[in-house]
Symmetry: C2
Subunit: 241 residues, 2 copies
DNA sequence: TTCAAAAAATCTTGTATAAGAGTTATAAGA
DNA sequence: TCTTATAACTCTTATACAAGATTTTTTGAA
């Protein structure tokens, strides 16, 4: 099936954007095998090298995964990848292999607050699901977090029996929502009484607050996650190259 | 001049490593113009495309900067680049264009503490220069920081009349020390009396501590920078893709 | 004859070469 | 100042081979 390119700019960019569009509009799902370079080149009427350049760019952006001999797959979330890629808290010795478990405190299904609507680009009467839980690292409570999700994109989430520790695979498989990028703002705040109690601290103790907004490929904000972390024995790692 | 490749693995990787080695051992200095793709291909006895792949990888690693029509240059620090790339504190409205200025509190030239020697891989009797200062953002004190540098790599630093706000260009131009990568560990801590006073806070107020170790291309740790930031009106930004 | 294992063939990405055209940047000359 | 020439990267195409994975075919044993 031929799909001649009709856009502007370098061909490899047009191929890149066309592939992104197919991923975004659901024609290719996470984990799907894309056609081979040769087949895509034939379909788009460009050289194999041009397709390869587009695919290599997509791979650099973590939108696809390429395996020699197997093919090119739309990137998909796994719990391991989420922990490795999206979780930046580690122990004092750089340990990132400690068990991360979660204890659910509460869930709600309610109208969004003004802040929530603002952060998630919801209409004023929009609904959200919220999840409040404690994350234990190596068996100890380290993080209190509240996750806010647009209800219309996660229909049925409140009826799931169990929520796993890592949620991004669930968003993807059950709701077709794939997290692609997260912006985090970090601050030091004083612990409030409720979270202090959960984390074994006194009110007023310093906590590292991580305010995350997670987006899909097309930039739609789909998760607001506020985490408050006890950094007595852990820290947030950031690498700048 | 011909320099046939003599290593193992893909040719583009060998070219990459040979170029890195020349940068590390000072044959090519920050800001230097590298030979053209065509000339390098001739020197190493590989195709231009192979050189290109190596250079593109180097560019992706921020070791070189490529300009069409001009050439490929060894990356060099500027104050603007340091602020843009290595400085992650921004205002509540996402502002990163606010003036960043510094007020020097103290400098020392002394024997390294055990922690300092450990962090900077110094011998037990190694000497360090330290710089303690306050950084003002938009005219307000926001960050207290202490910078620890191995004295043997920064001979004469303590005799400079003025230290600019951004130091990495100075490290590079005066001492031949180029910062390539920084690892930062972030924690929330309670303000101690001295830094609280400088930042206009009360002792015990939560501060965001950024513990940075900066390294050169070959992995040598050359700067330990401990910053304590008032995050009432600012935050540390981190993006995950 | 059937089934399982091994070998061969095929597919697909990764590496490499070669060449040409286009675009951008700069310097020199009119 | 404008135009032209030169330098150098960027984009594109084509081709070939290596390496890894999967599928198909062949062979041998039960």
């Amino acid at each position: 099936m031929k799909t001649p390119l009709a856009g502007h700019g370098p061909l490899y960019r047009q191929v890149h954007e066309l592939i992104v569009a197919r991923i975004v509009d659901g024609q290719w799902q996470p984990g799907d095998l894309l056609p081979s370079e040769f087949d895509l080149a034939d379909e788009f009427g460009v050289s194999q090298g041009t397709v390869r350049k587009a695919l290599n760019t997509l791979a650099a952006e973590n939108l696809v995964v390429r395996h020699q001999g197997k093919g090119t797959f739309v990137a998909a979330h796994t719990p391991q990848r989420e922990l490795f890629h999206f979780f930046h808290i580690e122990g004092a010795d750089g340990a990132r292999q400690m068990p991360v478990t979660s204890r659910l405190l509460a869930t709600t299904n309610r109208r969004a607050s003004r802040d929530e609507a603002d952060r998630l680009d919801l209409p004023a009467n929009g609904h959200v699901f919220t999840i409040e839980r404690i994350r234990d690292l190596g068996g100890r409570p380290v993080i209190w977090e509240r996750i806010v999700l647009p209800a219309r994109m996660f229909v049925g989430l409140d009826q799931l029996d169990e929520l796993p520790n890592e949620l991004y695979q669930i968003y993807e498989e059950f709701f077709g929502v794939t997290i692609h990028r997260a912006i985090e703002e970090l601050r030091a705040v004083a612990a409030e009484r409720a979270e202090a109690r959960h984390l074994g601290l006194t009110a007023g103790a310093p906590l590292l607050e991580v305010d995350r907004l997670a987006e899909t490929v097309d930039g739609t904000p789909v998760e607001w996650r506020l985490s408050r972390c006890d950094t007595r024995a852990h820290h947030y790692l950031s690498e700048i190259v």
